[in-house]
């Protein structure tokens, strides 16, 4: 292939990355306008960021790919799987922008710029088919996240930021080392090619495993799964609520996007000498246990949600352990629902945060009477997180465990049935802490008359109502979403 054709191909490829270009454009506009305009035209920055993400999402939907296309010499692939995740990511971004209240963030343009940078990184990550792209987009997410965590511009934020950074850098370094080993073993950076698989098949060296696990740890860091989960609680506690909501969803989705592809590749279509299902299953169980049990005695809602996030990753990993197409579909469905319910919960947490800056769960006692609507919405969000009818959380867990059962009934591997029972049992455990907040809201009497927090803007109530309705509707009609997901034809 000569240079001419290559350049032509590059030009052709650019037509497929419209959404990403829009995001880039948005970043630039924010950067420039941040320099030009005064700092108090917050609404303008809001609007720009919102419009950028909206346009990006619309473009992704309009340009829905029929067939997967490899772009930029196989650096990325444009397919429906990644497009679906991109929509979720954009949605997460949009919700975060809606959540970002005026009072909390200074430095609006930079804030939104970094937000969009993360989303852009997430876009690249879910599309990437090459270790180089994986590394760069992952770093784009990570570096921006480190900064965003400190956007409270207070002592706590600085500490959270530092911890996040140190932990994240080590995880990245380990991952890079793992990638280099995998490169050495396979001789290629493109993990979706036949060469990658066939070379690795011939390799008998344990370095394949070591490289694989080290690479995996980078992804596990991103999706907050054991054993690389330890940063989560401290960081979540310190960061502003919208950022936590964002970080607990978008990087996780992006991480899963690449983790799924990577896992399927490293599993070598089931021919790997190593039992990756056992590894994934163990990670899943570890995450479930650590997340759920640690969450039990938390009194800070955000810390609790951090451990919940670990546990939810465990549930998502249940779908990955299946290593089957239906498992992936279940993950996508679960991820979509997780996005909704998590944002709903954080939205209400933020609403209860207004007066007392860091509420503890016991301090919510009796608020259910004063804020019935918000409390019920939070109750529904948390019930959905438990996985209880009549919320879509149940449907999502149902699909997840169905696909696990299916994988079990096809392979009969004991790890799968162990995981099955283990995961469902963990649902019961999770009930303890998820219901803690509704318990205090509704069942506990307030110790004394407390100052009533400021009024909650109507549009936030509308937003939570919308999320509640979505959660309910998707329970009754999962086909609305699942039908779409089922058409996604995942190929490596």
């Amino acid at each position: 292939m000569n240079l001419q054709n290559q350049l032509q191909w590059i030009l052709d490829s650019t037509t497929f990355i419209g959404a990403e270009l829009i995001l880039l454009l948005g970043m630039i506009i924010l950067l420039v306008s941040g320099l030009i305009f005064k700092r108090d035209v917050n609404f303008f920055f809001h609007a720009i960021a919102f419009l950028t993400l909206l346009t990006s999402a619309i473009i992704v939907i309009i340009d829905w790919p029929e067939n997967p296309v490899r772009l930029f010499n196989g650096m990325i692939r444009y397919d429906d799987f990644s497009s679906y995740l991109k929509i979720l990511i954009d949605l997460g971004g949009l919700l975060t922008i809606l959540l970002s209240r005026n009072k909390i963030q200074k430095k609006k343009p930079e804030y939104f710029l970094l937000l969009i940078a993360i989303i852009l990184g997430a876009h690249w990550l879910v599309m990437s088919m090459n270790f180089v792209m994986v590394l760069l987009s992952l770093e784009m997410i990570s570096l921006s996240s480190y900064v965003l965590v400190g956007f409270g511009f207070d002592k706590k934020g600085a500490e959270g930021s530092l911890k996040y950074f140190l932990f994240g850098s080590v995880a990245t370094a380990v991952m890079i080392f793992g990638l280099s080993l995998l490169y050495g073993m396979s001789g290629t950076l493109d993990f979706s090619t036949n060469k990658f698989v066939s070379t690795l098949l011939e390799q008998k060296s344990p370095l394949v495993l070591i490289g694989g696990l080290m690479t995996l740890s980078g992804f596990l860091f991103k999706i907050v799964a054991a054993p690389l989960h330890l940063w989560a609680a401290d960081v979540y506690e310190s960061a502003p609520t919208p950022v936590v909501a964002f970080l607990s969803v978008v990087p996780k989705l992006a991480g899963f996007g690449v983790l799924i592809k990577f896992t399927l590749a490293i599993n070598l279509f089931g021919q790997s000498p190593y039992n990756w299902q056992v590894i994934l299953g163990t990670i899943s169980m570890l995450s479930l246990t650590i997340g759920n049990f640690s969450a039990l005695w938390q009194t800070n809602p955000k810390r609790m949600m951090a451990y919940s996030s670990i546990a939810q990753s465990g549930f998502l990993l249940v779908g990955l352990t299946c290593l089957s197409i239906s498992g992936i579909h279940a993950i996508l469905f679960y991820a979509s629902i997780y996005l909704l319910m998590n944002f709903l919960t954080f939205l209400i947490i933020q609403q209860f945060e207004l007066d007392h800056t860091s509420p503890t769960i016991p301090s919510l006692a009796g608020l259910g009477r004063k804020f019935p609507f918000q409390s019920i919405a939070m109750g529904i969000g948390l019930i959905s997180l438990v996985g209880f009818p009549i919320t879509a959380g149940f449907t999502a867990k149902f699909f997840l465990f169905s696909s696990l059962w299916e994988a079990f009934s096809q392979s009969g591997k004991p790890i799968l049935i162990v995981l099955f029972v283990f995961g469902l049992a963990n649902m019961v455990v999770s009930l303890f802490y998820y219901l803690k907040m509704p318990y205090y809201l509704f069942l506990k009497e307030p110790p004394s008359e407390k100052p009533i927090p400021a009024t909650i803007p109507l549009w936030e109530n509308l937003l939570s109502a919308f999320l509640v309705v979505l959660l309910l509707v998707l329970f009754f009609q999962p086909a609305l979403l699942m039908g779409w997901i089922n058409r996604i034809n995942f190929v490596l």
Partner: protein, 644 residues
Amino acid sequence: MTANLAQDSIVFYTALAALLLPLLSFTISISVANRYSWTVSLIAPFLLLLSFLSACFVLLHVSKETSLHSQITWFTLGDDEITFGFLLDTRTVLMMVVVSCISFLVHLYSTGYMAEDTSIQRYFAMLGFFTFSMMGIVMANNLLMIFFFWELVGFSSYQLIGFWNDRPSAAAAATKAFIINRIGDAGFLVGIMILWTYGGSLTIDQINIANIPSSYLTLAGICIFCGVIGKSAQFPLFTWLPDAMEGPTPVSALLHAATMVAAGVFLLVRTYFLFMPDVLMLVASVGAITSIIGTIGALLQYDIKKILAYSTISQLGLMVMGIGAGDPFASELHLYTHAFFKAGLFLCAGSIIHVLHQASRQKTLDVQDIRNMGGLAKLMPVTFLASLIMAGGLAGIPLSAGFLSKDAILTGLLQGEIIFLFIGFSISILTVVYAFRLIWFTFLAKDSLPEYIQREQVSDPALMMRIVTVILAIASLWLMISWSPIDFNGWVSHYAQKKVIINSALITGTSAIIILLTGLAAYFYFKDKTLNKKTANTMFRNFDFDLLYKKIIVTPSLNLSNGTQTIDQKWIDGLLHLAAYSQVALAHFMGWWDKSIIDGSVNGLAIVARGTGSITRSFSSGKIQSYILWSMLGLIIFILWILF
């Protein structure tokens, strides 16, 4: 069937009326307002009279050739049907007449006896309900129905014993009676289950022809006999009957002397065909033991009602023994005669109690103690005469109906083991003794009425009550069952029984002579004797059977229930809480893990380090670096685990 259909249905409906009129009485009585409570004492006896007349009508139209049998489906149990039906044969009809007659008389008597009570509606209601249930037992054609009414009888007994339920002793007696009956009934129920399973039906004549394995038949017999033991106060479940005397005396007369307790005997007669020889032996033995216990109890008691209660136990034991070892018909006969004279005796006792109670200035309850009586013959002549006749019946003096029926039982016992005949004779003798003792100390001995009794007020009771006792006294004469005072094969046996056991002159003669001689001996024995008031016989408590039951059944089961409660609250919930705690503990452990192991200075490894002689100890808590350390440790553990 010779009678035509129209007549049959008239007879049938009359029988139904006899059954349902008492129920109507119950319904009316319970719904009458307090203000009009006096109407109840008119309506209830009237309805019972109608019921009695209906029963008599049926009696006239049913003979052993023309027994009526009618049933409808009650409910379907699986593929099989449980029927609801009536069997009107001679035995049933006779019993119906006896029950409705005595019930009617007791109603009548009660209008006097209970006149001053405030809950008169409830009283008559339960009497009516009892009569209904008792008629149900008598008329029923299948065992489930019998059981159905059997339990209802127990319920009415419970209600009536506990009628004055503000007395703790009455309440306790009611509870005791019901529970002990339930124990027997549980056995009965098992018997019914066996017959249902292996006999395929519950209708008595179907079971009769069913082919049941003999081992199960034996079991079924024993189980049904359990029901009898409970209801007819046989050994070892007899202890409730003396306590049941806490109820109003007319109730004792009707339920606990004449009819309800006789239901067990009736059931035995009805299901006689089920009993294998072994079981009959058991029945006879139990009857014998019961009658001995009852007799001794009656001899030792001082409470007039309790004497009668023990005598009832004794007589019931005799009947059961008669069925087990002799001829069921003889026992049936005794059942009829006993019903009249014992009901009469109770009513007489009731009259005495009633009168003494009214004459008493103190509201103490020892008006039932025969040590406080004596010389009442002069004060209450009618009652005395009636009592005398009926006590004669109880003792089996010739010319009484009791003589004939007891004669029949003894004759029947000739067929069986000689020991039972011997026991029968002994019982007869002792019966004479205690009957004499009762009459002597109540009516004839030296006047020992306490000072607080106003003697001028002691006289025969109200007219209605007198009439009733007189009627019952007359009904206790030999004419009741036979024209001949020495042959029990009279009109009753002709009416009821095809096969008649031969009257044995030997037995008749012997018993007549023995009984008379004993009476004479008793007279001489008791003539100069006075009862010691000081040694109030409180020691006599049902032969301490109650204590025994309390020790081996009641207390252990209460302890057991406390034990299960403990298990529930301590163990099962404890386990649950333990699980919860361990979950919390695990959570704390996780937290501790985060705090101490991960955050902290890795104490565990530090200890190892100290052991290996390392100098450097790091106790400062290095947070994020420890996080990283532990994550990497996790990673390397994974690598090592998969690799090796």
